[in-house]
């Protein structure tokens, strides 16, 4: 069973909603981004999204744009990102890792080689923002062969006619983008989301993670009622930004993640995985 599937099963059994964290590989430095990742599971992250830095992140707000720029400045490449995953896996074999980013660096790497190297490094899923279902076949060919989930995005504009197109071939979980907008902006209106999410639930058994605009434990608790997981990115990245070279400030990241995790239900023992 894949790590993603297993994680959602275990959490469901213990009555917990999943916390999905997002941080950028290589931010604020290659070493410290790895140190952040290594602390996340203990602090309360159930699944980990790692951003692959890109020069032109057209779907991201300023916080994530800047994180990508810091990472590139720190020397991050696709190779260092995969190495970070490898290093993380040395002492964690159960927390799912999802790489999130844009298509061009994957094309430049070579899609087949990327799928192979990502699997070998310990990657479980991919979210490629600018590869809608209509354009992801070239990559899917290789990720399917490796057993890597392509996580599909569903947005408020994905209407009932289009939903089957997005659900066709979806695996892992569904990422519900709760607002029309870029990352790190306003929180969605809960009441407006519910009918749409109910529509998705009626057509798919995959877990639903809700993301965009979720910043505080309060937001997380509220949004978690609608789905199986919440994704928090920008507010964590804001804390990562302030981590010093010697690791000062790491504690602020951990305590934010802990506070987000605490509102989502009891954590299962590691043995449960």
């Amino acid at each position: 069973m894949s790590r993603i599937k297993k994680t959602f099963e275990v959490l469901k059994a213990s009555g917990r909603k999943a916390l999905v964290t997002f941080t950028m590989a290589g931010d604020p430095s290659i070493e410290n981004s790895l140190a952040v990742l290594k602390n996340l599971p203990e602090a309360g992250a159930d699944l980990i999204e790692i951003g692959m830095p890109f020069t032109d992140p057209a779907a991201d707000g300023l916080t994530i744009q800047h994180a990508g720029q810091r990472a590139l400045k720190a020397g991050a490449t696709m190779k260092t990102t995969l190495q970070i995953v490898r290093d993380f896996r040395v002492d964690n074999n159960h927390t799912p890792i999802i790489l999130m980013g844009y298509a061009n660096p994957l094309y430049a790497y070579g899609l087949e080689g990327f799928a192979k190297d990502a699997k070998e490094a310990g990657v479980d899923g991919l979210i490629i923002v600018d590869l809608p279902p209509e354009e992801d076949q070239d990559l899917r060919k290789f990720t399917d062969a490796q057993g890597i989930d392509m996580i599909r995005l569903i947005t408020p504009t994905t209407d009932a006619d289009r939903l089957p197109v997005v659900l066709e071939g979806a695996s892992g979980f569904l990422y519900y983008v709760s607002i029309t907008g870029v990352t790190g902006t306003a929180k969605a209106d809960l009441n407006a989301l519910k009918p749409h999410i109910d529509l998705i639930k009626a057509q798919s058994d995959l877990p639903i993670a809700i993301g965009f605009g979720i910043k505080t434990p309060n937001d997380a608790q509220e949004m978690s009622a609608l789905g199986d997981a919440v994704v928090v990115g920008s507010s964590i990245v804001e804390k990562v930004k302030d981590i010093g070279e010697n690791g000062d400030g790491m504690g602020d990241v951990t305590s934010l993640v802990r506070s987000l995790s605490d509102v989502l239900g009891p954590r299962p023992d590691e043995g449960a995985y």
Partner: protein, 406 residues
């Protein structure tokens, strides 16, 4: 695969071979599909074209003249050799460039779709001015995204846009130039998807924009064909146009693609030279990749990070190129070359003195290539260069390069 026609692209999914497509975030995908649906309906609707044609004639001032540039022809004549040079005068359009052609078309489409707000990116400001102009005409609020660097070097156009009632947003993210203003426009679009139409200013972006902008700009090539038949009784031998994203070139070339005897040359901006890091020649110096909704050639490093383009011309300062050009490049139907900033600057001055026409720096690139080949071609060789914009906007940049204070 054999190609029976070069004019049957893209396929139903918006692909020109491997290029093109719809590489956009899911939030935009339903909208992009609805633009495609609206365009498919509009392009077969005679009433839509009647309105377009009326505005083209009475508002833009089309057809633009096909001018025999006799002095330029003489200037480049070399003994028994020297091509006969024509200029397609799209700089005489209202707003001074070809951009107005696709702005009229797209605003008509946006209104047909019930959209009430227009956004656009601009490099040199020509597309921004044309967009602001048409929005003024139709009472539509519009926001223009422009790289902070371009706001500075194209200040007259910034003022024009504001006079026309547009909001101009100076984009400081990334490299603060054309590609970043496109990113910022995409971010706005994703946020205001319900009421906003993104009026893309070149034959780029997600399908259907490359094909749609081409179809609006094809008016240039269609007129050229008719005017040339009238003047010379035959088709031209060579077509030359400058390429940033490639809208004026695609507009001139497309109606001629299946005329096998017509040679076509697209001129990219070579900046300080394509062997340096400072140029905007995506075909010559880039490789295939994905950005701004399309697969095409982009300037990028080995890790797939997009590199900044450089050109003296803000309108050519883009690290990518329209996907149809990428396809025509691979199939070698069109020849793509580059000229440097310096060569374009020389051509800019030559055209001003010789013809009494101050060209934009963009077509000055095309003219710089004409300068290289005209004297090597026989006297009965007919060459048409797309003079796609006038140079008033560029006089500050040029004065600065020439060390003149104005």
């Amino acid at each position: 695969m054999t190609v029976n026609s070069y004019k049957n692209q893209p396929d139903e999914r918006g692909h020109f071979g491997q290029y093109g497509g719809r590489y956009v975030a899911e939030t935009l995908m339903p909208l992009v599909l609805s633009v495609e649906k609206a365009w498919n309906e509009a392009k077969v609707d005679p009433a839509f074209w009647a309105q377009f044609d009326d505005l083209a004639k009475n508002y833009i001032g089309r057809p633009s003249p096909l001018y025999f540039a006799e002095k330029t022809t003489k200037h480049f004549t070399n003994g028994d050799m020297g091509a006969k040079i024509y200029f397609k005068r799209d700089e005489l359009n209202h707003t001074g460039a070809h951009k107005i052609n696709h702005c009229i078309g797209q605003v008509l489409l946006a209104m047909r779709m019930g959209k009430t707000r227009i956004i656009a990116e601009t490099g040199a400001g020509q597309h921004g001015v044309a967009t602001a102009t048409v929005c003024a005409l139709f009472d539509l609020p519009c926001t223009i995204f422009m790289g902070a660097k371009d706001v500075e070097r194209q200040s007259p156009n910034v003022f024009r846009m504001k006079l026309l009632g547009a909001e101009v947003v100076s984009v400081t993210s990334g490299s603060a130039s054309l590609k970043d203003s496109m990113n910022e426009a995409m971010r706005d679009w994703v946020t205001n998807v319900h009421d906003t139409y993104y009026l893309i200013g070149t034959v780029g972006g997600p399908h259907p924009f490359p094909a749609m902008v081409r179809d609006f700009q094809s008016i240039i090539g269609k007129e050229t064909k008719e005017q040339m038949m009238e003047r010379e009784g035959r088709l031209p031998d060579t077509l030359i146009a400058a390429i940033g994203g490639g809208s004026n070139a695609m507009g001139l070339f497309h109606p001629f693609l299946d005329d096998a005897d017509v040679h076509m040359i697209g001129v990219e901006a070579g900046g300080m030279g394509v062997d340096t890091d400072l140029h905007a020649a995506s075909l010559e110096g880039g490789k295939p990749g994905v950005l701004h909704g399309m697969q095409t050639y982009f300037l990028q490093n080995d890790d797939g990070q997009i590199q900044e383009a450089h050109s003296i011309s803000a309108g050519l300062d883009y690290p990518g190129i329209g996907p149809e050009h990428a396809w025509l490049f691979d199939r070698k139907r069109v020849e793509y070359v580059s000229v440097t900033d310096k060569e374009a600057l020389d051509a800019f001055q030559l055209c001003s003195k010789l013809e009494g026409i101050i060209p934009a720096l963009e077509p000055a690139h095309a003219l710089a290539h004409v300068a290289k080949i005209a004297g090597t071609l026989p006297k009965d060789h007919i060459l048409v260069m797309n003079l796609c914009g006038r140079g008033d906007k560029d006089i500050f940049t040029v004065a600065d390069k020439l060390g003149v204070k104005i």
